[in-house]
């Protein structure tokens, strides 16, 4: 355990790197998934293709992707952009599905009502469809964030420094506390980010929480 006490600075620095790389990937993945998800949802013909293709991305072995990307992107093999692009691809694979499912979950009556009272198409998407897809999209975002944090550790195998370093270094030098510190740090980061997402959801989607609290039965009694 003294290894951990002696290396708190290293752990903190690697954690910061780790969080930065993961968050960039999740944010870009989220931003890319909204238009992709919308197109898949809106145009039935494209839907199958987009959902299947993005879903298949998830089955690409991460190590293979990390080895291929530098050639595809024309970057140095040790550039962290390779890792961020790979993580973004995996995030998109999860999030496109979540956006499509989220938009599907919006009540058709509500959509019709929004059009009937005078929402134009763009305004309806940003003001009605997307917020109402929020709970399902948020659930997808939580999964994507946790999986990205865990997956990012493979970066160390292609020379990108983050918490994965504690695994490889600890393994090579037979320092078990170092490996354990890495595992605990990854789990803690994932838990904290998940908690932040839940809190953000409560703040941004207050109606979703209240709906689940007032059940249909309670409403019937009120009537």
């Amino acid at each position: 355990m003294s290894w951990i006490a002696d290396n708190l600075g290293l752990i903190a620095q690697l954690s910061a790197e780790h969080i930065r790389q993961s968050l960039i990937a999740v944010v870009i993945g989220f931003v890319v998934s909204i238009p992709l998800g919308w197109v898949a949802w809106r145009y039935r013909l494209l839907r199958g293709t987009i959902v299947v293709v993005t879903g298949l991305l998830y089955t690409i072995p991460s190590l293979a992707l990390l080895i291929l990307l530098p050639t595809l992107l024309g970057l140095s093999a040790f550039d962290e952009v390779n890792l961020i692009v790979a993580l973004t691809i995996y995030a998109v694979a999860l999030l496109v599905r979540a956006v499509v499912d989220g938009l599907d979950s919006v009540d058709a009556e509500v959509r019709l009502a929004a059009s009937a009272v005078g929402y134009g198409p763009a305004r309806r998407f940003w003001g009605v469809d997307l917020p109402l897809a929020g709970p399902v999209v948020l659930a997808g975002l939580r999964v994507a964030t946790a999986s990205t944090i865990a997956l990012a550790t493979v970066g160390i195998l292609v020379g990108v420094s983050n918490l994965g370093y504690l695994f490889t270094n600890g393994l090579q030098r037979r320092i078990i506390p170092e490996v354990l510190a890495g595992v605990v740090a990854v789990v803690l980061i994932a838990l904290v980010l998940d908690l932040l997402l839940v809190l953000a959801g409560r703040l941004l989607l207050p109606w979703a929480r209240r709906r689940s609290r007032t059940s249909g039965r309670a409403r019937a009694r009120l009537a």
């Binding site: 009937a116 009605v128 109402l132 109606w207 709906r211 409403r219 009537a223």
Partner: protein, 275 residues
């Protein structure tokens, strides 16, 4: 005034929802389209605010063809109230009512203060202003729906079976409330229902529709009851066998009116004003 001129609608799948429909809906009166499901009444309603565009024929508002208006602007200028309220689940009550004024570019603050006034107008406690629709009863939700329809002070209010999903007691309350509001605001209301009693209660002009939006008969409730045009109308309004088929029965205390099932429905008051 709204005027349908030879309006037909064939949907892409080939079903003809409305065939050659023509009717004038007078300004500041309530016109009710009543008929069984599939008679095209909702399609007709949606043609007024261009939720549906006719395949042929025109719909005019005060002499202007709605096809020349931009759909989004047109819809903001017409109140719309639908079954199951159609409220935005993620907006509070006050923001739901303020929806249309905000879309029209009014400030949120302005629109909210107007919304609070409207809550009182439609009989809602302003303490509910910051609730979400899911926290309200069905009747309260419909009141919010009506308030939203009135918020931009439109001349025309379209109501698509607005009270269809609430229980009979609440429905009766809401109907009385609508009559009171109409007394106060004098809107041109187009109301769609499958309930003939509701049609007769609320309508100044009632159009009984058959499949394809064919008008079986149109007129005031009294005219329809007094002179049903055909068998279909007579049976639809229940003039022959239902509760509207009353006959006089003499009793020791005067004449009472009895329905087809033999239940006494009322007392005949001689010499009363027949209007």
């Amino acid at each position: 005034m709204i005027e349908f001129r030879g309006v037909s609608k064939t949907f892409p799948d080939g079903t003809e929802a409305v065939h050659e429909f023509s009717l004038v809906l007078p300004a500041r009166k309530t016109t009710v389209f009543v008929g069984s499901s599939g008679c095209g009444k909702t399609t007709l309603l949606r043609m007024i605010n261009r939720m549906v565009d006719p395949t042929s024929g025109t719909v005019e508002i005060d002499g202007e063809d709605v096809a020349r208006r931009k759909p989004v602007q047109l819809r903001r200028s017409i109140g719309y109230v639908m079954q199951n309220s159609g409220l935005m689940p993620h907006f509070t009550v006050v923001d739901n009512i303020a929806t249309v004024p905000v879309l029209q570019g009014r400030t949120r603050r302005d629109a909210r203060s107007r919304a609070l006034e409207l809550m009182a107008t439609v009989g809602l406690d302003t303490a509910l202003a910051n609730r979400y629709p899911s926290q309200l009863s069905g009747g309260q939700q419909q009141r919010v729906g009506v308030a939203r329809g009135l918020a931009a002070d439109p001349n025309i209010l379209l109501m698509d079976e607005p009270f269809g999903a609430v229980d009979p007691i609440v429905r009766a309350e809401l109907q009385q409330e609508l009559l009171r509001l109409q007394d106060e605001f004098d809107k041109t209301i187009v109301f769609v229902t499958h309930d003939i009693d509701e049609a007769f209660l609320l309508g100044d002009q009632v159009a009984i529709l058959q499949v394809g939006g064919r008008i079986a008969q149109v007129g005031s409730p009294s005219a329809l009851i007094e002179a049903p045009a055909n068998e279909f109308v007579a049976s639809f309004i229940g003039a022959e066998a239902g509760k509207r088929a009353l006959h006089a029965k003499r009793t020791a205390n005067g004449t009472v009116l009895v329905d087809a099932q033999g239940r006494t429905q009322g007392v005949l008051v001689e010499g009363a004003d027949a209007s």
